[in-house]
């Protein structure tokens, strides 16, 4: 099947992006270079097209009850314009997806991973309850992320909404660049910033408006390459790398978003058991002690024995060293544990460290 194009495909190629196939879409992996783009977001502001992500609307009088059954976190804690990081699990506790749920009062929006859109929808429809309904509106929305310490100043030029009043993990519906927009204070970079959902027909207008508004802060378009290095520096999980159907939320360190005492939900039984017995492995962050770059799939060793597996790794542009995320058997998850990463047949020294790897200085 041919990859699909987002509304901004031509805009990206004109900006000099290298386009790659990702989750069934042609997406910009980089424009100038991953390290430059990474540093742009860490220093001022960058803009990302993440329109490949899925937007589901969950509505009907039983929408809240239904989401409570489907997701890990406690939906009843949400009020209007509040967002929540959550996930969905199979009965065996394996993760189907992670996502953010946004509460509009009488209905909800879930932003899901592009690669899981079909699978999520099928699962959600299979478990639908009377009085709840799911509408997949992914094709109607473009989603942009504006991230960095100058994100608010950039966006503020395009809206009358007082953005400083929109706190982290809250959102609002407003006019942005004269069009209807959902402005979410969420992100995947560890910086201050927003994600903006708008109708696809307005994609170019809003994208160009943001580039213009951010000019004084040297705003630049950022590709998926830097999105990945930015999220790794924060140890944010990426579905398909760090979490998948074979991992449960407890070992993945997502216990904080898994509310076992909220009542029944899909996967609860299995997750309870893991919690009671204690996870046998944990997702940790580690840094390389030598110049080396860990990669997905490399083995993690302790005194020559395999004790785990790297799920994500990169050269950290901020720390200027190799960093990685991976599962290790308990008790090697303790911060300070010396381990080795097997790279081309050799064990290269690494250490389990506190995460996030990167702390923003403001």
């Amino acid at each position: 099947m041919q990859p699909r194009k987002t509304a901004l495909y031509d805009v990206h190629t004109q900006l000099g992006a290298k386009m790659v196939e990702f989750a069934g879409y042609w997406m910009p992996v980089q424009y100038k270079g991953v390290i430059d783009e990474h540093k742009r977001v860490r220093s001022t502001v960058g803009i990302f097209d993440v329109s490949h992500m899925g937007e589901f609307f969950i509505q009907g009088e039983k929408a809240s009850e239904y989401l409570q059954k489907m997701t890990l976190n406690d939906v009843t804690k949400l009020e209007k314009y509040r967002a929540q990081y959550t996930g969905m699990c199979y009965e065996n506790g394996g993760m189907i997806d992670d996502m953010i749920v946004y509460c509009f009062g009488d209905h909800f929006m879930a932003i899901v991973n592009a690669s899981n859109r079909e699978k999520d929808l099928k699962w959600m429809n299979e478990h639908l309850i009377p009085g709840a309904e799911i509408v997949d509106r992914s094709d109607e929305y473009s989603l942009f992320a504006v991230q960095g310490r100058k994100a608010e100043a950039t966006l503020q030029k395009l809206t009358d909404l007082e953005l400083s009043e929109v706190k982290y993990y809250w959102f609002r519906e407003t006019k942005l660049a004269e069009v209807d927009a959902i402005v979410l204070r969420t992100g995947y970079t560890g910086e201050e910033g927003f994600e903006i959902a708008i109708h696809v027909d307005h994609s170019e207008k809003v994208w160009n408006g943001l580039l213009e508004a951010g000019k004084e802060f040297d705003i630049e378009p950022i590709g998926l390459g830097a999105r990945d290095t930015l999220r790794m520096e924060m140890k944010f999980c990426l579905y398909g790398n760090d979490i998948d159907e074979t991992t449960n939320p407890i070992e993945a360190g997502l216990g904080w978003a898994t509310k076992l005492d909220k009542g029944d939900f899909l996967g609860r039984e299995a997750i309870m058991q893991v919690k009671e017995k204690g996870a046998t492995r944990k997702l940790v962050g580690f840094e390389m002690k030598q110049r080396a770059v860990p990669r997905h799939g490399y083995k993690i060793l302790k005194d020559g024995d395999e004790i785990g597996c790297v799920t994500s790794g990169t050269f950290s542009p901020s720390l200027e060293k190799g960093i990685g995320i991976g599962y290790v058997n308990v008790p090697f998850n303790e911060v300070g544990t010396s381990v080795a990463i097997e790279i081309r047949g050799k064990g290269i020294a690494a250490e389990v460290v506190k995460t996030p790897f990167y702390q923003r200085p403001y």
Partner: protein, 125 residues
Amino acid sequence: MEIPEALQYTSEHEWVAIEGDIATIGITDYAQGELGDIVFVELPNKGDSTSQMEAFGTIEAVKAVSELYAPLSGEIQEVNSALEEQPELINSDPFGEGWIIKLKIDDESGKEKLLSAEEYQSQIG
């Protein structure tokens, strides 16, 4: 994208400049562009021997890792020590300051397998 006429190439995206029995070797502009930001290079030691199309080193970029293949057989005469501190030279000047090794060629017949600029160009399309 640059493909200097005066150089010879391999299908693995190395370039070779031959002067007498010494071959200077690097990776092409195309290769550095595909790899993206290079963050370090693992190189052999001076005096090591390598044979044609054998992996003699590794390039680590942010997004990917790639082996370096010897375009010719020979003994390593020199490695570009500047790459230790500035691996990004391969990105900024792949045919110049970003050269990787110099090799003393010990089998002249290997040269027949090298590609001309034109042949390399047609290979990468």
